[in-house]
């Protein structure tokens, strides 16, 4: 499979804190890669470095062979990477439809308003937001806002979607619905790199998992491989032998 995204040796320091160190990973077309790790492991920072919100101190980000390291976020979107945020950022007083149109207008293709609206309506329908199109985005429920965040990103027609804890704050029904949507998105041809804390969900969705701890990659592999990795277990539970004992008992 062709490499869609290649990240090499990314590093970022904030004052005294090395947020990300020597991070390398790659994502192929239509792959779902899960990014997990304890809080403060540098996952969201890694996203920032990939989509241009922050420029890395070291390392390169290559998308389809093009070096996009340090490019401004709006240029990165035009290259085909869209992103959602952990804390949702709706354009609150604008309507749901307008939010999506923004995503479509300024996404990968430079669409005129009319076409962007068509794309927006289609994507909104796909995500079940059609009844809410006229509402101000700020008035949606948290589940609705999360779906809007995802819709906006999809409207950009990305080839790679960065999802930052898109399941956080959702009730079990909404989680199941979102998981189904993510699978459908992948089936439509979009690769996904997702940060998630909901273990069952991410283990079930991902083709591969990358584990970060203290800014460094701890492990990489299929979900099964990663789950059995003692270093990973230690990072999460703090004591590998205890984890083994718990595992045996279960």
């Amino acid at each position: 499979m062709t490499k869609l995204l290649e990240v090499n040796g990314l590093g970022k320091r904030f004052g005294g804190l090395q947020a990300v160190a020597d991070l390398s990973l790659s994502i192929a077309e239509r792959e779902i890669v899960g990014l997990i790790g304890p809080n403060g492991a540098g996952k969201s920072t890694a996203f920032d470095l990939i989509n241009g919100v922050r420029a890395p101190d070291q390392g390169r980000v290559v998308l389809r062979g093009e070096d996009i390291t340090g490019m401004a976020p709006y240029d990165v979107v035009h290259r085909g990477i869209a992103r959602t945020h952990q804390i949702v950022q709706p354009l609150a007083t604008m309507s749901v439809l307008e939010n999506c149109i923004v995503g479509a207008c300024f996404g990968r293709d430079d669409l005129p308003l009319r076409q962007a609206e068509d794309v927006a309506r289609e994507v909104a329908g796909f995500l079940g937001l059609t009844e809410r199109l006229g509402e101000p985005a700020g008035q949606l429920t948290i589940g609705g806002k999360k779906r809007l965040e995802l819709a906006r990103a999809l409207c950009a027609r990305p080839s790679l979607l960065l999802l930052d804890e898109v399941l956080a704050g959702l009730n079990p029904t909404e989680v199941q619905r979102m998981i189904g949507l993510i699978r459908e998105i992948r089936d439509r041809g979009v690769a996904i790199l997702m940060i998630e804390h909901l273990m069952q969900a991410i283990m079930g969705l991902s083709d591969r998992i990358v584990v970060l701890s203290s800014g460094r990659m701890l492990a990489e592999g299929t979900p099964a491989e990663v789950a059995a990795n003692p270093a990973v277990i230690e990072a999460y539970l703090g004591d590998a032998s205890l984890a083994a004992k718990l595992h045996e008992r279960a």
């Binding site: 989509n51 919100v53 401004a72 976020p73 709006y74 979107v77 035009h78 992103r83 945020h85 950022q89 354009l91 609150a92 007083t93 604008m94 307008e98 149109i101 923004v102 995503g103 207008c105 300024f106 996404g107 005129p112 308003l113 962007a116 906006r152 950009a156």
Partner: protein
């Protein structure tokens, strides 16, 4: 185009412009004309500063700098180089927008309040510079000789021509506001105004858009300044770069409802009426600032959406009808 013709706001703009143009002409009322000229200036300033405040969310406190620079460029070209008025005004507009664009790329790196402060600094800096700039008359200013009005058929006729040109600039301001709001550019600007970081991540080219709107918001006020000071036949730094005028434009925008189209224009007309009533009623020179200040304080604290904001809340259908 056909779809546009069905929008009520567009008809309203045309109607208002016709009233401005025809009323003083048909009644041959010079006093009315003078009053409406001033009102038109306020509408132009308010509508254009609204592009920054209401659309992009950046408060340009020093917006009068465009007005003043436009005035200076035009008066100087007419006085020292005998340019015809319309050419001088257009050139002034273009020059000021270009300077604004270049300047904008720099100061638009600043966010929110820091940008607002920097614009005050820009205005004060330009005022101090012009006051020391001898080719432009320094602190004494430039007096326009009466010959300048000859190409326009003498002073009396010239004043009418200037008036109609000003009404035209007002029409262009309103149309530009309308056009931008309903275009992709306007959508991107509003996204920036809502949440600039989110807009960046959504692909809005924020740096370019901000510089463009800053520059665009300079063009017509510069032309208005050109016409206004040509008419006054005299320009000097304190009048040209009067921060009070800048802030009155902002008060008008907040009064009428920032981010809307009709709001700033309404606010401008209302404010100008109030101001001229006060000026004739009281002998105090700067009392209108006290009223304007008190009004702004009340609006910001209790009715931040202005008149249109209140209207939209009361009758939501008005959102579609009066933009």
């Amino acid at each position: 185009m056909m779809r546009a013709l069905r929008r009520p706001t567009l008809w309203l703009i045309v109607a208002v412009t016709l009233v401005f143009a025809l009323l003083p002409l048909l009644r041959n009322d010079v006093a009315l004309r003078e009053g409406l000229l001033l009102a038109a200036v306020y509408v132009i300033l308010a509508t254009n500063v609204n592009l920054m405040i209401g659309y992009a969310g950046y408060v340009n406190f020093g917006n009068v700098v465009f007005f003043g620079l436009g005035g200076y460029a035009c008066v100087w070209l007419v006085n020292s180089h005998a340019w015809p008025l319309v050419a001088a005004a257009l050139f002034a507009g273009a020059l000021v927008s270009l300077v604004a664009f270049l300047f904008g790329l720099g100061i638009l790196k600043l966010r929110g309040a820091y940008f607002a402060l920097a614009t005050i600094g820009v205005n004060e800096g330009v005022k101090a510079f012009v006051a020391n700039f001898t080719p432009w008359g320094g602190s004494a200013g430039i007096y326009l000789s009466i010959e300048a009005y000859q190409p326009l058929g003498g002073p009396a006729r010239a004043l009418w021509t200037i008036y109609f040109l000003m009404v035209l600039v007002m029409l262009l301001s309103l149309l530009a506001s309308y056009g931008i709001k309903n275009a992709k550019f306007g959508l991107g600007l509003r996204a920036i105004g809502q949440n600039e970081d989110a807009a960046m991540v959504l692909g809005v080219p924020t740096r370019r858009y901000k510089a463009l709107i800053y520059s665009a918001s300079a063009f017509l006020p510069a032309m208005a300044g050109a016409l206004f000071f040509f008419k006054s036949a005299f320009i000097q730094p304190d009048d040209a770069f009067d921060l009070a005028l800048s802030t009155e434009a902002i008060v008008a925008v907040m009064l009428g409802g920032q981010g809307t189209l009709v709001g700033p224009a309404l606010g401008a007309v209302f404010y100008e009426e109030m101001r001229s009533t006060l000026l004739t009623a009281q002998a105090f020179s700067h009392f209108q600032l006290v009223i304007a200040g008190a009004l702004l304080l009340l609006i910001v604290q209790f009715v931040p959406g202005g008149l249109m904001g209140w209207l939209y809340r009361r009758w939501p259908c008005m959102r579609r009808i009066l933009e």
